[in-house]
């Protein structure tokens, strides 16, 4: 093999192996860092992974925000219209967090059916409804209508 061809082959081998390593890195990282979104209904039905981080979203129920003790612990209920999940959080809530507002929380379930959030997201605009939340509300409403055809509309 002449030197020019060998060089070219070496460069190609380097590039391919580099890209291969990067792809492997990306896939492993992607696998570990995807957070699935669940609606409160799915949480109540137990469809969520135990011990794994995920997101839950819905409307903050009026009158459900409670500050406890002398530190920054807070809890509130998130609802999709059909079911509610209680979220525990320690820290400062975002500016646009308000009762009645659509929010998304990221965290894990604890043993007692409460969701322990390490992040609470409310977006930059007050008219904003997280698309996941809008979707979850719509689904809950449809399912409610199907399961309970004679119920109050």
């Amino acid at each position: 093999m002449n030197p020019k061809r060998r060089n070219r082959l070496l460069i190609i081998a380097l590039v391919v192996s580099g890209v291969g390593v990067a792809v492997a890195l990306a896939l492993v990282a992607l696998n570990e860092n995807i957070n699935l979104f669940y609606s409160p209904t799915q949480v109540v039905r137990g469809e969520v992974p135990q011990g794994h981080t995920f997101r839950v979203g819905g409307l903050v129920r009026e009158g459900s925000v409670r500050r406890e003790g002398q530190d920054l612990r807070v809890s509130f209920d998130v609802s999709d219209g059909a079911h509610t999940v209680t979220v525990d959080y320690t820290g400062i809530l975002p500016d646009l967090f308000r009762e009645g507002q659509g929010i998304v929380a990221q965290g894990k379930m604890n043993g007692n059916g409460r969701f322990v959030a390490d992040q609470v997201l409310a977006k930059h605009d007050e008219n904003y409804m997280p698309p996941e939340v809008a979707d979850a509300l719509k689904k809950a409403e449809q399912e409610g209508a199907v399961a309970n055809p004679h119920g109050p509309q």
Partner: protein, 659 residues
């Protein structure tokens, strides 16, 4: 009447864009001089019309003309005048108009500064830019008319999003757009060269300064955005791997690769096809960024559109641009031969490595950004890809790249030897490892491995850059004379590479040694964080031009002495009723002290967020150095000489021109 005139100017601009996109290109294909000569005046005309249109829209905002629906949605008579002006690009329609205006501005500039470029090249470049312009102007006119009237005329406007009422945000979008749009010039040069079948060193030399200038704007725009996020959102973070941030970061990374591969194309006549492909990708990523931000598929402070027609339109535009340019590439590229041969150990290989790492990094960010969107579009569930993904992919890719910044500039073109490089770099490498590994301990008394790795790379980049400078000036009578003999583009590289070192230092140290506490403070209480004590002096009420605020005062003490007094506000904007936090920051070269007010907890106590951020300013300082490097490189003397040479017909087509 005026808004109608603005609308009319917009339509006329579209007509001129159609002429600009068809006639000069046809002239270049058929060799008709008159048709080609049309390119410049038409480009200038289009620019002036859009300038008029933009001025009229600005006037509607500044004079509170709320009969214009777009102004009524995004402004308010209580808004301070400067924000009434910046509100022009605070929404979807106006920011697109700015986009189109800047695109025409780049076209006009190409017309102005290309007097010595062959006419057929100018015709093709401006023709391609005219085609891009047609796409954006018809998008503007058919889906997002900024001059639409509102009836009945509202008494006042709905106000600009309070987050955007900020000096950083006045400059961030125009800078970023200048970058996005500026890459269209590099793209147009690449397509023009493909069409003409002349992918030579002249082409590379011509498109290099334009690409670099676009990259400079983009660098400044991204840095401004990051700085804004840092002080305005009240979370003290400077990068969130948010999809809209990625949308601007991807073309920047690709543009960085393009700048480096253009160097090889110009000096060594190699990588020519690859460079063209990079130019196409860079501009495509700019368009993709516009699509992501403007189509409403993402929800963030940047996304205004909710009209699905708009998303479809940009997606179609993206498909047409990418498809057409790749077709031209497939048709023309096989005829291009790279003439410059090089050995395995050479600067060409180092620059190839740079390209591979940057492109792979871009691809992995693209994957993380688009994956959730694709899954959602296919109805396969809603997911989010968090910052840990981007960090764990991006950082390992940047480590070898940072190492190569040290080796590359010291490697010779064409052929070099591992032995020589070892000989030159051995001492520097050892010293960098020793000093860099000690640095975190000296500064913060800690041995965190990643912090050590980061500071080794910082010292390595800085030391090798200085070594390069010393080697080049060694044979001159004095250091000063030797330094004067180096070209501006060399100093551009030095500044940009040192900028990378400064940014890496800022990222490494601030992410490892920041202190952060969310606490409850009652008036008179003190919280001790590291060396500083924060004393909460209580809350006072404060009234701004268009908001009411609760203002907290915190005194910061160190060794019993007062360092600074910080004010942080919780504002409530009167028109929208939207609450917002204004952080209080005491900035310094080696550390920022940062306080942000949370919510009231009763009994006069408030939740307060306190940060100590070491070296965080270095992140943006480094970006400014990179931008300065770009300016130096783009203003190098040889680009002006090249123009002269091209005019005299001597040509600089061969790759043997001295480096």
């Amino acid at each position: 009447m005026l808004p109608e005139l603005g609308h009319y100017a917009l339509i006329l601009a579209l007509c001129l864009a159609v002429v600009q996109g068809i006639v000069p290109l046809a002239g270049a294909a058929r060799g008709v001089d008159n048709w080609m000569a049309l390119a410049r005046p038409v480009a200038w005309g289009q620019f002036l019309l859009l300038l008029l249109s933009f001025a009229i829209l600005s006037y509607a905002f500044v004079s509170n003309d709320f009969s214009v629906a777009y102004a009524a949605r995004n402004s308010n008579s209580l808004l301070p005048a400067i924000y009434r002006f910046s509100a022009v690009w605070g929404g979807h329609e106006g920011s697109l108009l700015l986009w189109a205006l800047l695109l025409a501005g780049w076209g006009a500039a190409v017309g102005l500064f290309s007097r010595r470029l062959p006419q057929v090249m100018v015709a093709r470049v401006l023709g391609v830019m005219g085609l891009v312009s047609i796409g954006f102007l018809s998008f503007l006119i058919f889906t997002s008319n900024p001059f639409e009237r509102l009836w009945p005329i509202p008494a006042d406007g709905r106000d600009l999003n309070p987050l955007l009422q900020d000096p950083g945000l006045v400059m961030h979008p125009p800078m970023l757009y200048m970058g996005y749009v500026g890459f269209s010039v590099a793209f147009a040069f690449a397509i023009a060269a493909l069409l003409g079948g002349r992918l030579d060193a002249t082409w590379a030399r011509w498109s290099r300064p334009w690409t670099t200038v676009a990259w400079v704007f983009m660098t400044v725009g991204i840095a401004l955005g990051s700085w804004w996020a840092y002080y305005e959102l009240g979370w003290g973070g400077w990068w969130f791997w948010d999809p809209v941030e990625n949308a601007s970061f991807m073309p920047w990374l690709m543009g960085t690769a393009l700048i480096h591969s253009l160097a090889v194309a110009e000096k060594r006549s190699a990588f020519k096809n690859w460079t063209v492909l990079l130019a196409i990708f860079t501009f495509s990523l700019s368009l993709l960024g516009t699509f992501l931000v403007r189509s409403g598929v993402l929800t963030s402070v940047h996304a205004f559109a909710s009209d699905p027609r708009r998303g479809v339109f940009i997606l179609l535009l993206l498909a047409v641009v990418v498809g057409a340019s790749l077709l031209i590439y497939a048709w023309r590229a096989p005829q291009v031969k790279s003439t410059g041969h090089f050995a395995l150990v050479s600067r060409e290989t180092m620059l190839l490595g740079n390209n591979v790492f940057l492109v792979v990094a871009t691809a992995s960010i693209l994957l993380g950004t688009l994956y959730p969107l694709v899954l959602d579009a296919l109805n396969m569930g809603k997911i989010s890809v968090g910052p840990p993904y981007f960090n764990s992919v991006f950082v390992p890719l940047m480590v070898p790249l940072a190492f190569m910044i040290g080796v590359g500039p010291l490697t010779r073109w064409k052929e070099d030897h591992v032995g020589r490089l070892q000989h030159v770099l051995r001492a520097t490498l050892a010293a960098s490892i020793a000093v860099g590994a000690l640095l975190p301990w000296l500064l913060f008394r800690s041995w965190a491995p990643m912090a050590m790795l980061g500071s080794v790379l910082v010292v390595w980049i800085a030391a090798t850059t200085l070594l390069d400078l010393r080697n080049l000036t060694r044979h001159s009578p004095s250091l000063w004379q030797g330094m004067r003999r180096q070209s501006r583009s060399f100093y551009g590289m030095v500044a940009a590479h040192l900028g990378v070192a400064v940014t890496v230092a800022g990222v490494t140290l601030s992410s490892h040694y920041s202190l952060e506490h969310d606490i409850r403070l009652a008036p008179g209480e003190t919280f001790v964080m590291g060396e500083h004590s924060f004393v909460f002096d209580g809350i006072s009420n404060h009234r701004g031009p268009n908001y009411d605020a609760s203002r907290a005062t915190l005194r910061v003490l160190k060794d019993e002495r007062e360092v600074t007094v910080l004010h942080t506000e919780k504002r409530s904007y009167t028109v929208t009723g939207m609450p917002m936090t204004e952080a209080g920051i005491d900035w310094g070269l080696t550390r920022d002290l940062y306080v942000a007010l949370g919510e009231p907890l009763g009994d006069g106590a408030w939740a307060v967020r306190l940060y100590y951020k070491p070296f965080v300013r270095w992140i943006w300082l480094g970006a400014m150095l990179m931008a300065l490097g770009g300016i130096l490189a783009a203003s190098d003397r040889r680009y002006r000489l090249a123009r002269k040479a091209a005019q005299e017909g001597t040509g600089v087509a061969t790759g043997s021109v001295a480096s």
